[in-house]
């Protein structure tokens, strides 16, 4: 909860000295420029935020070499709007920024940053380190990785890459070394959604045009809490103020569901992992009542007959029993959706992070086709993007360790973290002996914390590149100090519906003289004997070449543009009329031939998810993101932690009463995977069979501010992945709680 929370009576009186979670007593970090010094340099430098992956445009105010303020960048659409005409119209009113973006200087100047390369002394995870030179670190890591390759073969290395412009050099390193096991973040994020949309409307990330819609039905997404792209609140609230109706499907009354209710919409508190059943029942009603878009279906889709046959038995009564909603509500929502246009149907990681995530998401995506609401103003828009092009050498021939493309037929290019983790434990399909983590807190980010630690304990060599001593860095043999986004280059093709790409540039040099991640990989590559491109190319030159290859402009030109943001062609609609959808059939696919070819159900039938409640563990456990924090990495940021310094365990009021739990009680959360204490937050804002919490708290490392605050959700999760996409099933779990 991002707010100071008071009871009604106290709230009225403002009597309780609630205040914010106190961090009083800490000295100022002294990030403000010395006012007495002569002002030698005072500039505003445009760059692109990376406090989360949202890449919002920002301006950094730098005075005498110190960053003293971050403000929104109105030349960059992220923070303004995701439709080109809205962006142009709203530009003058200024871009916006989230609280994390506002707190960037507190992480840049965090006294707890890693400042020098470290080499492990004593037992793994014991926290004893020797400070070593960068050259010694690179040399020793090269020798250790060389030994792994000589002894076990190159496939014994798995590399977990930060997903940015230097993703490609990390991939090149893996392929030069000879391992196919290059992985990155997406498979612990939203690849069920990607596979679902790719296999229906032929684009892996369509974006909703909230500002111009009249109806938005969103499943398991909280864009007003997990704000990510800073324009989301504006475009959603503008839509609502213009009369749009918002319906939010979520076991928790999220900040988005809260606004749905405030504006006369609906919160549909489903049981976790049942969203697909709801979507199929909505389709059932629409088809039974003849409300589908027959024109769109006839001209632009394929497989409608098979889909209609699938949903014929998926009645509202059937779905009511599964979801916990009532059948009449399902009918009403179906009718509203089919008759209020333009309409958005969208789904993100709530339904996606279950074992049935891809099919559930595909059922939801199918609704957009059923009502013909695709690539029109006010609907789901297929974005057109243009960005840098990175050269990557061919992958080595050997099989990947994580089953991408085999065990997981639609496994995303980012790989499958949980499979790589399991291979570290079981040695199957072959053993892993070394791992490199670049800005990844693997221990916290992959479901099943105990297994993650067990896995890392089985490795011979672990290297972590990070700004902070994360739980993963703590397990490493070598820790290389990483760079904050304000210290480094990058290029960000923006997630808006039109062409827009912005530059990230160092606004101050790396504070500790450390190398940027790209440079570390290049140095390591050269030390391993790789003398080809990109290992011998300086970072700026590499970026310039990649930008020119993909966009036809030079780095210097991008840098000189207003707000260091390049804007290309505007939003275009109904692109399928000229080029078809990006599916094999060029049609919107209710039935996927390529899924059938890979032995999967070609239509998105509902299957129950896994690891749900049992007699021993009767409550679902879910987790979510909030505006004040990113993943598990902002919990040492003093400003953000002042405002929300501990996650609470949300429990429905009636459930809490039956268990004798009161708001604020310390409770024990337990299942077969983990046991921990948390603070109860008793609320009417969560489904009675569900408990949950913000993801990313409960650290035992990361920094003194983070340590010991709140409860880690990942410890309670089995740690499997959706069998189609390889998406980690972060939200499949059940626990018992007691006071």
């Amino acid at each position: 909860m991002s707010r100071v929370r008071l009871g009604r009576r106290e709230f009225v009186k403002l009597a309780a000295a609630a205040g914010t979670a106190g961090l009083a007593g800490l000295d100022s970090l002294g990030f403000v420029a010395d006012a007495s010094a002569a002002t030698l340099q005072d500039e505003w430098i445009p760059t692109t935020c990376h406090m989360c992956g949202g890449t919002t445009g920002v301006l950094a105010h730098v005075v005498n070499g110190r960053v003293i303020k971050i403000e929104p960048n109105s030349a960059n659409p992220v923070g303004i709007a995701n439709i080109s005409t809205d962006f142009q119209q709203l530009k003058a009113s200024g871009a916006r920024m989230c609280p994390k973006g506002n707190a960037a200087i507190m992480s840049l100047y965090d006294p707890d940053r890693i400042k020098t390369p470290l080499k492990r002394l004593g037992p793994r995870g014991g926290g004893q380190w020797q400070e070593i030179s960068y050259d010694q670190a690179v040399t020793e890591i090269a020798v250790r990785l060389g030994n792994v390759k000589a002894t076990y073969g190159p496939q014994a290395l798995a590399w977990f890459a930060e997903d940015a412009s230097f993703n490609a050099i990390q991939q090149n390193f893996c392929y030069a070394y000879g391992t196919p096991n290059w992985l990155n973040h997406s498979n612990i994020c939203d690849v069920s959604r990607k596979v679902a949309f790719l296999n229906t409307m032929g684009a892996d990330r369509p974006l909703p045009d909230f500002r111009n819609t009249k109806y938005a039905l969103i499943f398991g997404w909280n864009p007003l809490g997990a704000t990510k792209w800073a324009h989301l609140p504006r475009i959603i609230l503008d839509g609502l103020d213009s009369g749009a109706k918002l319906v939010v499907v979520d076991p928790r009354c999220s900040e988005t569901a809260e606004k749905a209710l405030a504006y006369g919409g609906r919160w549909l508190p489903v049981k976790p992992g049942t969203d697909g059943a709801l979507a199929l029942a909505i389709a059932n009603v629409i088809i039974a009542e003849g409300r589908q878009d027959t024109n769109f279906i006839a001209n632009w889709s394929t497989g409608y007959g098979e889909f209609a046959a699938l949903v014929a038995s998926k009645t509202p009564d059937w779905a009511a029993a599964i979801t916990g909603l009532d059948a009449q509500t399902i009918r009403e929502v179906a009718r509203e959706l089919a008759t209020t246009k333009p309409a958005i149907v969208d789904v993100w990681s709530g339904p996606g992070q279950h074992m049935n995530g891809t099919d559930g998401s595909r059922a939801i995506a199918s609704l957009a086709g059923l009502i013909g609401q695709v690539d029109l103003p006010g609907t789901m828009i297929i974005p057109e993007r243009k960005g840098p092009s990175y050269a990557v050498r061919a992958a080595p021939a050997g099989a990947r360790v994580d089953g991408k493309g085999t065990k997981y037929p639609f496994g995303h290019s980012s790989g499958i973290y949980v499979e790589a983790r399991d291979a570290m434990i079981t040695g199957q399909p072959y053993p892993l002996k070394a791992a490199v983590f670049v800005f990844q807190n693997f221990v916290f980010s992959v479901p099943n914390t105990a297994k993650n630690l067990q896995a890392l304990n089985n490795l011979d060599v672990i290297v972590s590149v990070d700004t902070h001593m994360s739980e993963t860095a703590l397990m490493a043999d070598y820790v290389i100090p990483g760079t904050h986004y304000l210290e480094r280059w990058d290029v960000a093709p923006q997630w808006v519906t039109f062409q827009a790409t912005s530059l990230r540039q160092p606004v101050v040099p790396p504070l500790f003289g450390q190398k940027a991640e790209y440079e570390f990989v290049a140095d390591l590559g050269r030390r391993m004997g790789y003398t080809d491109h990109p290992f011998v190319v300086p970072y700026e030159q590499y970026l310039d070449e990649s930008i020119y290859a993909g966009m036809g402009i030079r780095l210097s030109e991008l840098k000189a543009l207003p707000g260091a943001t390049w804007i290309g062609t505007g939003t275009r609609y109904k692109k399928y009329e000229t080029s078809g959808f990006g599916t094999p059939s060029k049609k919107f696919e209710f039935y996927s031939q390529q899924m059938a070819a890979k032995g999967l159900n070609p239509v998105p039938d509902y299957t129950p998810t896994e690891d749900g409640p049992s007699t021993a563990y009767p409550l679902y456990i879910v987790n979510w993101k909030e505006a004040l924090h990113t993943h598990s990495r902002t919990m040492n940021n003093r400003w953000l932690m002042e405002l929300h310094g501990e996650n609470e365990v949300w429990i429905n009021t009636a459930r809490a009463a039956s268990l004798g739990i009161s708001d604020g009680d310390t409770i024990e959360v337990e299942n077969q995977y983990g046991q921990a204490k948390g603070r109860a937050r008793v609320t009417g804002r969560i489904q009675p069979d569900v408990i949950g919490m913000t993801h990313g708290f409960g650290h035992w490392a990361l920094g003194p501010v983070a340590k010991g605050k709140g409860i880690n959700d990942g410890q309670f999760i089995a740690g499997k992945a959706d069998r189609i996409s390889g998406q980690a099933a972060h939200k499949d779990g059940a626990v018992r709680i007691r006071k």
Partner: protein
Amino acid sequence: MSGHASAASKMMFVDLKRCIGCNACSVACMQENNLQFGIAWNRVYGVEGDDYPKPDVRVLPMFCQHCSSAACKLTCDNLGYRAIVQRADGIVYVDQSRCVGCQKCVPVCPFKAMFFNTETNKAEKCHYCMHRIDAGLAPACVITCMGITREFASPSELLARHPHAAQMMRGNANALYENMGEKPMTERATAGNPGASECHW
């Protein structure tokens, strides 16, 4: 029209219905004003009912209301320090050079908007980013607000956009802010939030 607001002065219009409670305002203020750890001039309160499955959730971003007869200022004046000053444009600020750090102003604020800085040993609070206003800029909280919850504009501009704001301005001479102040919310028309009730603050 607000009693103290000159034609040139600007008011804060906060649409509670659009506030998502994200705290961007809080952190923007910390950045802009280099606040001591533990102090947030901008805070966001929330209140919610237990009425599942339709919980009544309200969000209230709270900061100094710049009251025209401010309790903090009256207290300070009565003690003879006169460290709390109201400008012609209505902004109430703590003159740091006059504050003696007696802290008597802190508990009297009905909005809990006055703070005591243990590094400077002086009282402090939101001063509407008057350094920015004097430079022609909007306050830091306004320019970051993702919900476009806060509007900072002249009374005439606000009236043009929100005709019903006339009642708020007429009804409360102290208000630089549409729907709260010293008086209970029930006494005000509440722009964009017809369902507001007294529990909102």
